[in-house]
């Protein structure tokens, strides 16, 4: 990838992290860990990969995105705001009754949200439905779903994986944010979903390994998924939970907790330094 473009994307990702944390801090609740681990994935999808139009969020033949791990919507909302679906100021209203930004994605409230989600395992199934519909209509549009690694403990994910392979939904790309942590701790200690890649291959998926924080790696992975025909693709993207905020990295405790004022100020300082360095 061109180094200027890479720098621009890194800047979006840093701003996404700041906005996500701003929302969570304002709400005094929310899920920072997974929002931060998915920052580059969401940035790449919304700035590079998907055919979408902020001026016409309901464009019929658009690419679609389902946040199957719905709890990291602060990250999604920030990606949508940065892409121009609504003003970034909305982030301050996160998780309030009148807000367009509900605690989990609500397609009826938020411009750009293609599917309500939050109950784990359901988003990937809905994405299968969208991909199937495009196939039935002979449309070229693609469907993306972002899943958690802990989410794979939900049996419905595997029903959906079976379905997508059976119906050869090569217009479907699942991205698994492989950060290794869930609310109760290490995914391998809670109930191991490993090996994720081998399981998906045995379900007849095209499996691509990627670094969730490296735009070159993501670019290669998404290009591979797009080029692959005959079966759905899964990008297993190794990530760091809480990435970008030193004290949140690799700490399961930051799965679903809002920072206190001092912590928030430190996080903002760290991320602002990244933004400034990239803006030079």
């Amino acid at each position: 990838m061109d180094s200027n473009r890479k720098k621009a994307l890194a800047l979006y990702a840093a701003k996404l992290r700041l906005l996500a944390l701003e929302g969570i801090y304002s709400a005094k609740s929310g899920h920072p860990g997974g929002s931060l681990s998915a920052a580059e994935i969401l940035t790449y999808l919304y700035q590079e990969e998907m055919d979408i139009d902020p001026a016409n969020p309901q464009k019929p033949d658009r690419d679609r995105f389902v946040l199957s791990k719905g709890h990291v919507c602060p990250g999604l909302y920030a990606a949508l705001a940065l892409r121009g679906f609504f003003p970034v100021d909305a982030m301050k209203t996160l998780r309030k009754p009148d807000s367009i930004l509900q605690g989990h994605p609500d397609m009826r409230s938020t411009p750009g949200v293609d599917m309500s989600s939050g109950s784990l395992g359901q988003g990937i199934s809905a994405a299968c439905g969208m991909a199937l519909s495009a196939k039935l209509s002979g449309k070229e549009s693609r469907v993306y779903a972002l899943m958690g690694d802990g989410e794979l403990q939900e049996g419905q994910c595997w029903e959906a994986f079976m379905f997508a392979a059976h119906y050869k939904l090569d217009n479907l790309c699942a991205v698994i944010d492989f950060n290794g942590l869930q609310i109760d701790g290490d995914i391998t200690k809670v109930l191991s979903p490993l090996p994720i890649d081998e399981k998906l291959r045995s379900f007849n998926w095209n499996v691509i390994l990627a670094d969730a924080h490296d735009f070159d790696s993501l670019e290669t992975a998404f290009a591979n998924a797009r080029a692959h025909k005959g079966s759905p693709s899964a990008i297993v993207a190794k990530s760091v939970k809480g990435k970008g905020v030193s004290f949140m990295e690799n700490e399961a405790g930051w799965h679903g907790n809002a920072p206190k004022q001092e912590q928030y100020e430190q996080a903002v300082a760290e991320l602002t330094a990244v933004v400034k360095a990239l803006e030079v």
Binding site: P60, G121, M130, S133, Q156
Partner: protein
């Protein structure tokens, strides 16, 4: 017209709707029983078998509907409204997507398969979901009409159908509107409000009671939600006693829905005929129904009891 099951009407209606709508029909390995195979034979490319995975099917249905297509998702009531409850709530109810759930083999009349397959809870679980409409038609003609009405209806609909062949209560040209109940027979001493299979028993009960000089009004409450409040209040005011009859638990179903209206707007005795708080049993369908008191005789008895209560 020969006796036919309401599920037959479902399959026939889908096959007709397929001509008109950009629609997809989903099933979970029960297409011969739910009768979606009638659609499958005519439009094989738009019939999608989801395998034995009802929760997945409901969320897939939501995804298809989100792209602008009409979707019917079918299974037995037990699995559509029971196993897949949370998917229906979150993927379909919350999103208000136009997914129509075709649930067949509801209630005790599944018969020999027994308690695990006799769903007596689905009206309760479906009507409690915001945005969900619940339709329980009684015969072939009304089912076919209401499946077509559901296709046009803006929002999710749960259609509850039965396994057994039943006689027709309506003429071919009868028209039906979701949310508008039908006064099938007039009467002044009491009202039986029934839905689905039990409407047939209610009609027989009316004949039994007529022999004793009791005049009974019969209401076909084919839509349980939104319920037709006006017709209930009118019945409570004019007849002063109500008996409900449903092939469903007495907790949370038609009887509860009618009671909610009566309590708030026009209090009068309401006696519920349905499955008491217990699981079903295996057996020939008609004999199981009788065993559980889902019979014209029991309804007639309860009508007399309700009339006594108003004195």
């Amino acid at each position: 017209m020969a006796d036919k099951a309401t599920r037959e009407a479902y399959g026939d209606a889908l096959a007709e709707l397929g001509e008109q709508y950009d629609m997809v029909v989903l099933d979970a390995d029960l297409s011969k029983s739910t009768k979606t195979d009638t659609f499958k034979k005519k439009f094989p490319e738009r019939f999608i078998n989801c395998g034995i995975a009802e929760g997945n099917m409901m969320s897939i249905a939501a995804g298809i509907a989100a792209t602008g297509k009409l979707v019917f998702a079918s299974s037995f009531a037990m699995f559509a409204a029971g196993r897949a409850f949370e998917q229906v709530r979150n993927s379909i109810g919350y999103t208000r997507l136009p997914v129509k759930i075709g649930a067949t083999h509801a209630g005790l009349s599944v018969g020999e398969d027994g308690a695990t397959h006799q769903c007596n809870e689905d009206i309760a679980t479906m009507r409690v979901i915001p945005n969900m409409t619940v339709v329980v038609p009684a015969d072939y003609i009304s089912t076919k009409a209401l499946v077509k009405a559901a296709a046009k209806f803006d929002g999710p609909v749960y259609l509850r159908m039965g396994r057994l062949a039943v006689p027709n209560l309506y003429k071919e040209d009868a028209s039906f509107e979701i949310g508008k109940a039908v006064e099938l027979f007039p009467g002044s001493d009491a009202t039986i409000i029934a839905a689905g299979l039990m409407l047939h028993e209610a009609v027989q009960a009316r004949e039994l009671l007529a022999a004793d000089g009791i005049s009974v009004r019969i209401i076909d409450m084919h839509t349980i939600k939104p319920i037709d409040k006006e017709i209930i209040v009118k019945a409570a005011r004019e007849t002063g006693a109500i008996v409900t009859a449903e092939e469903h638990s007495v907790i949370g179903g038609l009887g509860s829905a009618v009671s909610e209206v009566v309590c708030e707007h026009m209090p009068c005795p309401v006696i519920k005929v349905g499955v008491e708080d217990r699981f079903g049993k295996s057996g020939e369908a008609r004999s199981v129904l009788k065993l559980f008191g889902l019979s014209a005789e029991n309804i007639a008895e309860k009508v007399k009891a309700a009339i006594d209560l108003k004195k």
